[in-house]
Symmetry: C2
Subunit: 421 residues, 2 copies
């Protein structure tokens, strides 16, 4: 990638009206452009990072037998009416085809996936089924939640699983849980599962999984060792599980009763949720299968979401220093930027660019713009490439293939031969 | 891919209400599922083929310096009002955020891309700019055009180019034209450019490029050698370019005057269009640049579309025999299907499956379902994998690694060692 060909430019100042650090940095660093409140265009670098996050998730979904499909965004009112959710879900964007057919933009796909899978599943032999999609999701959100934005249009992965019974569902749930924790670790995030024992006491059908980040919208109390946590707003109602020590209205300590462990408090953001659907939708769509014993039973369902575009924001929030981004390698838009200084540097830089392209494919950027070195350094810092490679008279004095290599995440700098990168 | 894990099943009969061969075959062969008229879900095999088409297009767009971005589907009325198209475009899906902000689902992105590129382009030095996106597009279509369907939701590639002047735009146009012809050839399609000399006499801002297919919505007259064609409905008004010989109301022959060549008649489908925007949108958004001579000028724009999902349908229409699909290798969902027969066949098939996966990655399907051979053959024929590999007692009698390999496109069959595939 030659920066001289890139049509976008970095912004010196924070865009007007933005408050959160991630939104400011992502816009200043040519990742995204704001079209509307909570609606963004992905610029070339942002789209690459988004696709990398998406592909990490896709790869792991395939490993847990997920079959990828792609359901439409336009969904008919008739299906939503069958589950009484046409009026119940207040974030549906509603529209009309011609003057007579009511449609909704999808905000969740149970109404589509249930009748679809029903077409093919007749017997216990056809179960379990694991289907997922990565799709743009629309929500007519009325207000922003604090911290992380609630978007009106965003990218979401939804995995649906269909089972003969709750035991089989639980078995698969453990597999998904472990895979999810792996995914987040791969992206450099610390994810916490909101204490599983709490869910079963709850009527709430939805469970949140949280990533620690200062820009989070929730306060959680977590145990690093077991990767479990509890939402601060729920902890007092769970007195059988937690001991809560307060000073006035403020919670000062939370201790898990069974282990005696003191939990740690942090801001966190929801990046993952699970909806225990059980037979809610199979009943609504009369989706039964014939079991081993010849009886008809309702299929058991769960839905497992990941906010794909939200992850980009959460990663940006976690990985930045005072003013700049610093992407983990797995999701960086490009791994390397080459910054040439002076005429000798420029000539050598082209050689290095070709060499690294051979070795690392399209992961290499060369800053061949007609700009001052200081300008290029500032841009490179802002973008947060994992590796900066400077080639100049100063480096070439050290030897004909010598460059200065900086690892952004650690700040380590050193002179190396480019051939050893 | 193990077919025993696939949740979809082929359909024996054509779905009710479908008339076109491609729609029937794609639904019978687990590629797509119809949700609404002109709105489809992509099932696992269909999604793979769609992604292959998308990636062929993406790769070639990158080769002609296209920078990929991703613009939102939700677009504000205010931008559409600036170009007077809020009322002019009758296929806009309109909706509201809360009760006060009018939005449209994008059906074309000039209103978004023009102000976006304007932010970054100030001088002739910043031009040309080539930006593209592959996005789901929405059109509130009132009626179906004959033959190929007009979808309400479909996948489209749009490339926008921005230039200092019309000469530069024409120079890039030739590059795009040649690249497009290469893309279609790669997908096994014969594409025709509607005679370029005609465009410049026309007031129509849009130009169509046609692929020969019996399910097409237009009749064209074409010249295979020069890859140019003329729409039958336009040919009589172009008497300076074409000689038209009629019998009664019917056109019997079309001869191109400059070459004296007789053109051939065929049904065809539009898969590509170009919109000569010139300065229409740069004027609407006051998008000027400072030229070499210091004067301010309006930027010149063109838009180049390709109907990505439509291509899947056109390819399916072109590549099928009496009842079955036969995909070109470049866009087949998978290259190989292994069909085991009998116990020895089953055991050997697993060995072959592992071997071919090593060699061809995820391009291999094994039909390990608990079904009769006849059932599996019918499915394999219907799906149209480029290569069918049968392993049975009969093939193993020929030697311990021998299978029967059928190339679908040519119908050629033969016994070969699987290690030589």
């Amino acid at each position: 990638m030659r920066l001289s060909q890139l049509f976008v430019k970095t912004m010196k100042e924070a865009p007007a009206g933005e408050k959160s650090t991630n939104a400011i940095l992502l816009q200043r660093a040519w990742f995204i452009d704001k079209l509307l409140a909570w609606v963004y265009t992905y610029l070339p670098f942002g789209l690459r990072t988004l696709r990398k996050i998406e592909n990490i998730i896709r790869q792991w979904m395939n490993e847990i037998w997920g079959q990828e499909i792609y359901m439409p965004a336009l969904t008919p009112a008739s299906l939503w009416q069958q589950t009484w959710r046409w009026d119940e879900i207040d974030v549906l964007f509603k529209l009309q085809w011609m003057w007579w057919q009511d449609l909704a933009l999808w905000s969740t796909h149970e109404e589509i996936i249930t009748p679809l899978v029903k077409k093919y599943v007749k017997s216990y032999k056809d179960l379990p089924v694991y289907v997922y999609q990565i799709q743009t999701k629309f929500r007519n959100e009325k207000r922003a939640k604090s911290g992380i934005l609630r978007w009106r249009e965003f990218l979401m992965k939804d995995l649906y699983s269909f089972h003969t019974d709750v035991e089989d569902l639980d078995r698969y749930y453990d597999i998904v849980l472990n895979k999810y924790l792996e995914i987040f670790e791969k992206m450099g995030l610390e994810a916490y599962v909101v204490d599983a024992s709490w869910w079963d006491f709850s009527d709430k059908p939805s469970h949140e999984f949280q990533v620690l980040t200062d820009a989070g919208e929730d306060w959680i109390w977590y145990d690093q060792e077991t990767k479990t946590a509890v939402n601060e707003e729920d902890v007092e109602s769970l007195s059988d599980l937690y001991e809560v020590i307060k000073e006035g209205d403020d919670i000062k300590e939370v201790i898990k009763k069974d282990t005696g462990k003191r939990l740690v408090r942090s801001k966190a953001s929801e990046v993952w949720n699970i909806f225990k659907l059980y037979d809610k939708f199979s009943k609504a769509f009369d989706f039964k299968f014939v079991d081993k014993d010849g009886t008809e039973k309702y299929v058991q369902m769960w839905c497992y979401g990941i906010g794909v575009s939200r992850l980009m924001w959460v990663i940006a929030e976690k990985y930045h220093d005072e003013k700049w981004l610093k992407w983990p390698k797995s999701v960086a838009p490009y791994l390397f930027v080459i910054i040439p200084i002076g005429d000798n540097g420029k000539q050598k830089a082209e050689e290095i660019y070709r060499f690294l392209q051979e070795k690392y494919g399209d992961e290499v950027v060369i800053d061949d713009r007609d700009e001052r070195p200081g300008f290029k350094f500032k841009d490179a810092d802002l973008i947060g490439y994992p590796y900066q490679i400077v080639v100049s008279d100063k480096t070439l004095e050290q030897g004909e293939d010598i460059v200065e290599l900086t690892e952004r995440m650690t700040g380590q700098k050193g002179f190396v031969s480019y051939k050893e990168i």
